[in-house]
Symmetry: C2
């Protein structure tokens, strides 16, 4: 059987070559490798060895590998290479990668890069740095193929042949008029399939799916997903093209956004750094604020218990149901909130659906509540042999808590979205704290009423 992953390089062998200074052999091996694998290999070496490997790469490959490295390694390389090499690399990199890099570097290194770049690149970098985080402008790049509508197909293909090597993609080309006004798009597939004498204007698609520089990442992910795009043009408010976003960048953004959502849903302040590369103190700082806030909120729940202290003292067995009631309430609520948060984030649910969602959650919560209450009733009477009145108190509380929890769980994220907050924050920990308090109030009110304590 052939090895399927034969594209995966043998890092052990490469490391041996490096140790034994067989640099010519190493260079040969590496130059056949994928830039991503070279970067992964370099990240496993100490920084001086990584630099030796980097110097073995030819200039074009060096830029490609550089774009895949972590910011620490990038910084080490920049401070170690000559101005000439740095100049070549900055001009060769896509402008979005340069901008990502500058955002991570210390000010002195940023200054050196801006000094070395050509005025044109410098202007572009400065323009890109001004776009707000998480906007279309912040993830686009400037290297796209621009065609004129008067060109023939064979002109266009010749033009792509000449300029395409520096472009982020050549598979979607943008037809622009005066002042970079976006008039249409044409795919390389259209060009290849058309007769060489065709005029671009005849085959271009004028119904262009596009976004503006200020549009939010989440919307862009939805557009890519809805229309199965490979690239999306970014225009300013006068419909002049300023850049493009390619599918691979959207992939990264999508992964980051999901991680962020999950972190928020677990009451963690999001960070862009991978977990294993984040220091203990940084991780601590991501987590402690929410733990503190939630701890203080939960202390208020404790006050409810204090308020009913006498009722509790006269019927201490009630205490033993508290964990079950709070937990079940919390779980019911978080099922609803997570479903709604995810629906909102992928655009499956919108604010206008609020009554549909409420209605559905209400019905589901009644079904869930009844089943849980009945199951519990059977257990309490048949197994635990508990007084029937107490069993009724517990089961009634359970039913009402589950209904309340699911209503709160679906409402809060939708309201948050409406008033401009991030719905993801309204997930489990937050909902649980509210539902805990709710369940205790319901519990003691029902208990006081039925048991007369």
């Amino acid at each position: 059987m052939a090895t399927i992953n034969d594209y995966a390089p043998d890092f052990e062998l490469l490391r041996e070559m490096l140790e034994e200074k067989q640099l010519i052999n190493l260079k040969k091996e590496i130059s056949d490798m994928n830039e991503v694998d070279i970067a992964v290999f370099m990240e496993e070496l100490d920084s001086d060895k990584a630099l030796i490997v980097f110097r073995l790469l030819n200039k074009d490959l060096a830029s490609e590998v550089f774009a895949c490295l972590s910011s620490d390694t990038q910084e080490h390389i920049i401070t170690s290479i000559s101005d000439t090499d740095l100049h070549f690399m900055i001009e060769d990199l896509f402008v979005d990668d340069v901008v990502d890099l500058l955002e991570e570097l210390p000010a002195t290194v940023v200054k050196r890069i801006l000094r070395i770049a050509t005025p044109q690149t410098r202007n572009l970098i400065n323009q890109f740095l001004r776009y707000p985080d998480d906007s279309a402008g912040s993830i686009m790049t400037a290297e796209y193929v621009a065609l004129k509508k008067t060109m023939t197909v064979s002109d266009a293909i010749n033009y792509i042949r000449k300029t395409g090597v520096d472009k982020e993609t050549i598979y979607t080309c943008y037809v622009t008029g005066p002042q970079r006004f976006l008039e249409g798009i044409v795919s390389l597939k259209d060009l290849i399939m058309s007769s060489p004498d065709c005029i671009i204007e005849e085959i271009m698609d004028t119904n262009v799916i596009k976004c503006v520089t200020t549009e939010e990442q989440e919307e862009i992910i939805q557009t890519f997903n809805k229309y199965d795009l490979l690239a999306l043009p970014v225009v300013d408010h006068e419909n002049r093209i300023v850049g493009i976003i390619t599918v691979d960048d959207v992939f990264d953004v999508m992964e980051e956004e999901t991680t962020e959502d999950m972190e928020k849903m677990a009451a963690i302040t999001p960070s862009e750094k991978p977990y294993l590369k984040t220091g203990v103190f940084e991780t601590f700082k991501q987590r402690i604020p929410w733990l503190l806030i939630l701890m203080i909120s939960a202390a208020f729940t404790g006050q409810i218990l204090t308020a009913y202290e006498s009722a509790l003292a006269s019927c201490i067995i009630l205490t033993s149901f508290i964990p079950m009631l709070m937990n079940t309430g919390g779980n019911s609520g978080s099922q609803s909130s997570v479903t709604v948060i995810r629906g909102l984030s992928i655009g499956e649910i919108e604010f206008k659906d609020i009554f549909k969602v409420l209605g559905k959650e209400f019905l589901v919560s009644i079904l869930c509540g009844i089943v849980l209450a009945l199951a519990n009733l059977l257990k309490l009477i048949l197994i635990d042999r508990i007084a029937i009145e107490i069993a009724v108190v517990v089961c009634l509380t359970l039913l009402i808590t589950v209904i309340a929890a699911k209503i709160v769980g679906c409402l809060l994220p939708m309201v948050a979205k409406k008033i401009g907050f991030d719905p993801a924050v309204m997930a489990n920990p937050f909902i649980t704290t509210i539902v805990d308090a709710l369940s205790l109030v319901i519990f003691f009110n029902i208990a006081t009423y039925i048991l007369g304590i």
Copy 2:
């Protein structure tokens, strides 16, 4: 200011045309629209109106629109069109779309489709239906461009021109030998950039990134993301190409997998249906099993309270700290578990990192535990003016609970992954149940020891 979203069609206008039976105008409007938008428009109509719109489409566009429709609408269309039209459409659709369709249809309709398809398509469909769910085989399609290494670049481009219209992508072409043995890949960019007389063998990349039919979806997402691919060839165990996976399919899979993970993390049995299209009873069925299991587990936590009933009765104020202790423990644990679950899912953390993760979580938990305990101590003594011994009991419990919760929270998902379970199940609800019990045991042991009750 130009409207930026001018590509978005005016559904209101289209609906009017349909009502007033201006079908010629409607046909003209629709034929300029994107297939995705046509499908969205059709989904908003009742099924007979949707059929009228569908019949206005020319055959090629009809297949494209069909692939974007929901399975209910697809079924309605299939049962309403003639065998001839159905035959054309089945042959025109990509095989992965046909297979997705067949999996949703009733047996009689499936039989009709298989009867109408050509023997070649039927064999392909049967082969594709056999691949396990969530495997590479189940998401690939068969329509790729296959070139021979002896072709020249200009032969290859001519070949693509002739056959490319039916392919899922022409931007990556696959060089195959006898028996579809995968020998290399060449991108359309390489073809365009090379001289027309070049031989494919000279420019193809033999270091092909690929996967086997049985590989899991999650791995494939990671490969796409790591190497920024537009398409990935799928080979059998003899390295013969059987299909390709394109980036737009991976996008869908990625979104589905994330939704599934989030659902599992919120104790919901995943479903592939959108929330608003799922019936109340179905949603109930997705949620009730976990609620029941977790409720029963939480009842055991209650038993712990019963066991310490006399201790509690002698010091009833202890009860009021239970919600805070359980909540803070749960939140601390779920922060760790969600971080680890996400890290495992995107390949940032592997099982071999277990000691690194444990060490880090231990240190973070000590920091968090100390800060929370101190904050609580201050509040209890200065604001609540509670006896110092009780404050010490509570704060010591808090510290130990946070440490235990974070250790459990990071360990469980990693162990689950190792023994082949889905780590996502080890999220908040599950962790909370365990940590609740832990925190109570810790609490009462410390209380008994320090307070002597």
